[in-house]
């Protein structure tokens, strides 16, 4: 996968986040402050502008620019967390012109580690980590078992979506939803949902790019 595929990932993610803007905001209204979709959509729109203004030449540079722009434009907890995820993934890819599955897996692991280091959330806390951790684990396992790219990316997407869905029954222990205590149970975490959407965009862009 080259820079064009990674650029397509981010463009797809921006479209999907925009299309799900109101859905994500509604999820946030239930257990947060009703701005998740609005803020992420604003951030990804700015990312598209940045990618057009100075098109990066490598997969790593695409992700680093994405992360930097999200940190500068989104605000809230999402800006630093999603921004750090993309920055760490970009750094892990280095200046390779082409990325294979194990390298992509390592980059997603680095993204997860960055998010957990910054936000201190663990699986089960009802956050984006529940989608991201499940996805990276499934992706790594599929690759280790010799799965094809399509199979591994399907495993990534399905695990992310299952991870997001699993947050419905959880009580939030981190972030603004934690203020609700037991009242946070019964709602899907908006950060886990947007994380799954972004990972599904990766699969779709990778599939279209081959």
């Amino acid at each position: 996968m080259d820079a064009a595929v990674f650029r397509a990932w981010i463009v797809t993610a921006a479209e999907v986040i925009e299309a799900n803007r109101d859905h994500l905001t509604q999820l946030d209204a239930a257990i947060g402050d009703a701005d998740h979709g609005i803020n992420l959509a604003r951030g990804f729109a700015a990312v598209l502008g940045a990618l057009d203004a100075a098109p990066p030449g490598t997969p790593g540079a695409v992700l680093t620019l994405t992360g930097n722009t999200l940190i500068s434009k989104v605000g809230g907890a999402s800006g630093p967390l999603y921004g750090t995820a993309f920055r760490r993934a970009g750094k892990a890819l280095g200046d390779a012109a082409d990325v294979d599955l194990p390298a992509l897996s390592a980059a997603l692991d680095a993204a997860l580690a960055g998010v957990q280091q910054l936000g201190a959330a663990r699986e089960g806390d009802k956050t984006m980590v529940d989608a991201l951790a499940a996805a990276t684990r499934a992706f790594g396992k599929a690759i280790a078992e010799g799965a094809s790219a399509d199979e591994a990316l399907d495993a990534l997407t399905q695990a992310a979506e299952a991870g997001a869905e699993a947050t419905i029954s959880m009580q939030a222990l981190k972030g603004r939803a934690s203020y609700l205590g037991p009242r946070s149970v019964g709602h899907e975490d908006p950060g886990a949902v947007s994380t799954a959407l972004i990972l599904r965009s990766l699969r779709d862009a990778a599939r279209a790019g081959r």
Binding site: T25, D33, A34, D35, G75, G79, L173, R176, Y179, G181
Partner: protein
């Protein structure tokens, strides 16, 4: 949704243009969303920077001026500002004595200020953050993101600002900020939800006879929903929660704060209930604020903040202040 706006996307910048026009003593960088005192940093004085989402006006921009903040960074509505803004503000107010970041304890505010402090540190500016977490509605435990920063932020910005104006060093200003936070507690009640402009509808639905107890300042639901009741009983709920965690004795600084959509007549009525409760327990309301100081857009409701005073804290509270939203003694 009926709001006095032109479009949801331009609410914050157009409001900042209005702030700039109304208050020539402030310098408003509308593009970067940074409000500073006109005239730049004071040499040798510790700079105070705060920031947070918009929609809480007058917090924080209304508290920029002599005796209080040097800069404020407003984010989008209910969304913390970004590190770039905070770095610009920190540079702008650094008079060589370092900069205090007053951070309300919300994950977004904490993370963005943390990133800004690192960037400022890389430039050789000494930054000390003080995190405000006075809201007793949230248990400070492993099961939450910790207590939220609410009303005590106003007390901290006033008192630490006064000490900085006297020429105290960064360590001393940070210490008094922490002391005020440690000695203050808040509790909030919502009678209605509020409408984030970009969302266009109320954040939550609340029946005619229902209220939310233990709210923060972002229009989020509280800890519990209850049946609406009298002002006297609501004062008791709020102050029982506060007094379970803070000694009600001696001289107190008390704020009865409107959430944005509460008439002043009700806030005064509530202040009277609060005063009676506290005096019945042998404390004295030595200083007070009654009005809209840290709001949630047009939400109806109130919060009460109780701070234990000392001689020094009272002196710093009384020190001259000249900002759009607090002004006395000068």
């Amino acid at each position: 949704m009926k709001k006095l706006i032109n479009s949801p996307e331009t609410v914050v910048t157009q409001a900042l243009q209005g702030v700039a026009a109304a208050h020539p003593q402030l310098h408003v960088d509308v593009e970067n969303k940074v409000i500073t005192r006109a005239g730049g940093p004071t040499n040798g004085k510790v700079g105070l920077v705060s920031g947070g989402g918009s929609g809480h006006e007058p917090l924080h921009g209304g508290f920029v001026g002599y005796g209080m903040l040097d800069a404020a960074c407003p984010g989008e509505v209910f969304t913390s500002p970004v590190p770039d803004q905070m770095l610009i503000a920190t540079r702008a107010v650094n008079g060589g004595a370092g900069v205090l970041h007053v951070v309300k304890n919300y994950t977004g505010d904490v993370l963005n200020f943390q990133m800004a402090a690192e960037l400022a540190g890389d430039e050789g500016i000494e930054v000390v953050p003080v995190v405000i977490n006075d809201d007793v509605a949230v248990e400070d435990s492993l099961y939450t993101a910790g207590r939220r920063g609410t009303g005590a932020t106003v007390f901290v910005e006033k008192i630490a600002g006064a000490l900085a104006e006297e020429g105290a060093d960064l360590a001393a200003v940070a210490a008094v900020a922490r002391e005020v936070n440690d000695r203050s507690r808040s509790f909030g009640v919502a009678l209605s939800s509020c409408v984030v402009p970009a969302a266009g509808k109320p954040t939550f639905e609340l029946g005619d006879s229902e209220i939310e107890l233990g709210i923060g300042i972002h229009g989020e639901p509280g800890r519990t929903r209850a049946a609406h009741t009298s002002a006297a009983e609501l004062a008791q709920v709020a102050l029982d929660a506060i007094s379970a965690d803070l000694g009600i004795q001696g001289d107190l600084l008390v704020m009865v704060n409107g959430m944005g959509g509460t008439p002043l007549i009700e806030l005064y009525l509530m202040f009277n209930e609060v005063r009676q409760y506290l005096e019945a327990r042998g404390a004295r309301v030595a200083r007070n604020l009654v009005g809209n100081y840290i709001t949630s857009l047009e939400m109806q409701g109130f919060s009460v903040t109780v701070g234990q005073l000392t001689g020094t804290l009272t002196r710093l509270w009384d020190a001259p202040v000249d900002t759009p939203a607090l002004r006395w003694g000068r």
